[in-house]
């Protein structure tokens, strides 16, 4: 499946929720466990800029199609943060820019050195590293689609479900971009395949696990990916990844759940 970048940029828009009746949350509020997961998701969406940063230090950004995508993607994800934060606000939970800032400050030196590490690594390996970024992005976006759809199913709240489906629909377009890029780039280079396989199996973790507390990661993983249905969703992500050139047999999502003792 080809990805039409011009069509994507032209139709990129901020997710809309103005037509959804958020007052419904007043009469039919979401349970604390769900709000906790939404809070996690909002944080992750707002932190997209940190991932953008990591991608920009690699040779990825020299391709105008890629920069066009990243411009739109970064903005769409920001709006997912805004939408989820509006759901939280309807439950009197506020998420301020200053709070996000202090979270980013808390990431401290590990985060500070990250662009350096990325730069050194990516430039040693050159263009092949772009493939790693793309498969990494695809894995994250597949996870996002799965997580939003799972939450919509689990909660069965009409307003929340509609909002999450809209967000998931945008995430699915991100999947299309990353997966197309990853497939093409991996197919072209065995070195890229080896490097991607190594990177995914050694370093991949659930979206948000580098920025959120481990307790929060566990909560969200068991909420959305635990139990038979959750594991089914996780296995579907793994199956998508395993279909990529050179990624046969990888089960990184299930592995990360096992590692955290999430019930199957």
């Amino acid at each position: 499946m080809a990805f039409d970048i011009d069509k994507y940029t032209k139709t990129s828009t901020n997710v809309n929720w103005s037509d959804l009746d958020f007052d419904e949350f007043r009469t039919n509020p979401l349970p604390p466990d769900t709000l906790r997961s939404i809070r996690y998701m909002a944080d992750v969406e707002y932190h997209t800029v940190c991932y953008l940063r990591d991608m920009l230090v690699t040779p990825s950004h020299q391709d105008a199609d890629v920069t066009g995508f990243m411009t739109m993607w970064n903005r769409e994800e920001f709006w997912h943060g805004e939408a989820l934060s509006a759901v939280l606000a309807a439950h009197d939970i506020t998420l301020e820019f200053d709070e996000l800032k202090s979270k980013r400050l808390k990431l401290g030196w590990k985060d500070r050195l990250d662009p350096v590490k990325q730069s050194v690594l990516s430039n040693l390996v050159g263009k092949d590293f772009v493939a790693v970024h793309m498969i990494w992005g695809a894995a994250n976006e597949w996870s996002a689609v799965a997580a939003y759809n799972r939450m919509a199913d689990l909660e069965g709240h009409p307003i929340l479900a509609e909002l999450l489906r809209r967000i998931a629909k945008q995430e699915a377009r991100h999947v299309a971009f990353y997966a197309t890029q990853a497939r093409e780039r991996l197919a072209k280079s065995v070195v890229a395949q080896k490097f991607a396989r190594f990177a995914l199996s050694s370093f991949w973790g659930p979206v948000g696990s580098t920025i959120m507390d481990e307790a929060e990661v566990k909560h969200v993983m068991s909420h959305l990916m635990g139990g038979p249905d959750g594991r089914k969703a996780a296995s579907a992500i793994d199956a998508h990844i395993a279909k990529m050139p050179g990624m046969e047999g990888l089960t990184i999502v299930n592995d990360s759940l096992d590692k955290r003792g999430i019930a199957a």
Binding site: T9, V49, L56, V57, F97, D98
Partner: protein
Amino acid sequence: MTETADAQQGFDIRAFTRSAVGSHSDALPLDAFAERPLTPDTVRTLAYLRDVERATMHHMRDVLVTPSHKDARLTAFLATWAFEKYWIADAFDRIVGAQADSVHAERGLVGRALHRIDETRDRLAPIGTAIAANLIGEDVIATHVTRGAIDEYWTREVYSALSDAEARPELTELLATFAHVRSRHRVFFEEEALRRLAETDGARRLTRAMLSRRFLPTGMREEPSAETRYVFRSLFPDARSRGRIARIDRRIDALPGMGGLRVMQRAAQRFGAAA
């Protein structure tokens, strides 16, 4: 996020993000330009402006590897800012591309990669920037927002000089639209620059150092110097133009601790414009 928290800080980021201006393609006077083509000089300048605009993400990298990326207010702004700039570049690209015999069209269509960026320097740059900027800390944000403000002072004069040079109502109107879109960028960067420069000695020292070292607006350093020279010479050829360049410098003078640097007048001299 709540309205009030942000409103207290002046520039309303939320309102800005909500009313982002996207594609201009439906409003482009391509028919008029097809009927009566723009002068080759104007097309050359528009191609230059497009390429400079396309450097946005490249520049964003240099900003994000520094403590600037910690500031959620700044990154929220940048998400929309990059979006609006993307579409301005796209509009220039469509106009340039539609000029059939334009030698600059190809650069846009085939040259979808930022060819001119020196590979080795580019690869090493983020490492140096990240290490240096993180040692310096938050003061480095002042240099980014000051640069952002100067980019806008410069672009406004360029648009107005180009409007005068071509004297086509359709082009003038279009550039006025872009200037309007960018006026919010200027307000944000200027407000941030005024505040951050006023705050610390370190911020002023760093920023002054940046402006003293052969400063050019963002993206121009990556362009071939022949093109930059061309833009300076063609848009700022006479006494009236000198006034435009001087006006940019007066705005820079008004920023805390940035007086007397003659930043753009010196740049204009280096690139052979009347100054």
